[in-house]
Symmetry: C2
Subunit: 274 residues, 2 copies
Amino acid sequence: MIASLSAKNCASNKKAIGIFDSGVGGLTVMRQIHAALPYENICYFGDTARVPYGNKSPETIKKYARENARFLQDQNIKILVVACNTACALATDLHSYVDVPLIGVIEPGVRHAVESTRSGSIAVLGTKGTISSGAYQERLKAALPEAKIFAAACPLLVHVVEEQLFTHAATRLLIEEYTAPLMKNSPDTVILGCTHYPLLQPLFQEILGEDIILIDPAYSTALAVQQKLRALDQLNSGPEKGSCAFFVSDDVLKFKETGELFFQRSLDKVTLKI
Amino acid sequence: MIASLSAKNCASNKKAIGIFDSGVGGLTVMRQIHAALPYENICYFGDTARVPYGNKSPETIKKYARENARFLQDQNIKILVVACNTACALATDLHSYVDVPLIGVIEPGVRHAVESTRSGSIAVLGTKGTISSGAYQERLKAALPEAKIFAAACPLLVHVVEEQLFTHAATRLLIEEYTAPLMKNSPDTVILGCTHYPLLQPLFQEILGEDIILIDPAYSTALAVQQKLRALDQLNSGPEKGSCAFFVSDDVLKFKETGELFFQRSLDKVTLKI
């Protein structure tokens, strides 16, 4: 019985980890997963033909998330990571459309923030969709009922990151304006609740102060994926290093160029999904 | 024979003018058409589920433009106005997919600029897609071979307009940075080659100087539509004022809120196209 179970796992553990995002942002999550689990094959889908998701309606995000999940399931994956905060926040029914384990970035980010805070005062930044859904706020409150939680939508930060204005005066102005009301409440922990924001981490740290703990949910998401695969006996033990395949719905060349900033290594094997 | 032709026209001139754009921006064009042709019925489609178009590939824009045109043709239109500069610049084969007359914003904008310039030095601003296509530059050169033409992509301006940062310091910084290289060439005429930019017209005028002629192609597009319909004997002579119907692919409420800034009147009859 044990031998038969192991044989089954040995075959299926070669399957890929599927990850989707609205575009390049989720590559910051993939980077952490790839670093934590170097023997895993990973299949990434960036929905660049319909990016961004952050300012679209819950109904549209649900539809896009279902379509993306279906595409990745057809690639023979063993687990699905929703690397887009907006999709995690709004496509709340996605679990009923997938037949593999599902991991989002919000729960791991919340766990990380709750472990990090000393004062119990936590701020979260994200797209309009993520913030107005209340997804982070509700989970933080559930995990730490005495927490004081503050949130702000930062709708232009995705776009300044896409334009690589990481240290531009306009970016600085926007961050100062978006965060000023929150900082009056003196949070000690700030969740970067959008996969684009980690590329602004140095600027956030400078503006918010060196003592602020910035939480990038990508780290804890990678850990959650590792734990889930271990629990399911689905970790790929190698011996070959895992391969990375990328699919996009628009413009392979642009994805490669911008994506390398997010993934911090070259992107080979990028295919246009028609 | 003449009577029969008139009867036919009398029936078909009640058909609507179809207009599409990637989102709300095309409402600046619709506003001019509605002002010039108050007896015309107008049917507008904003592809808000896939907005923006400005940073997407020609192939994707072509596909979206065909789908939008097909939808509007199903609404029984007599002429199709492509109010999105990026779609005009990149969906160059659209005419072969529609069976009604097609009017874009680029040719009218070029005509207007060529009539306005005194020095022959003309600058054009637009999305990455519009500018890199060379659509404005080529048509300007064809219309005025001795012209000196300068162009700059301003990718973040769509987003600051959508966030209504019409006079924000960050918007000012971006406009200054985008236009500084162009202004060294002392153009006397600057084409606002994106339907969002007219909402920044006061700021552009302040930054570029009072003497600069800013061209909003919406005005001349409305004139072109009027001329085409007159030539085809398809003008609607009333007596009732024309009605306006709006369709969007996402979020009716958000379209109404933002769209009223662009259309400068309330938007009734907005329907979600599934």
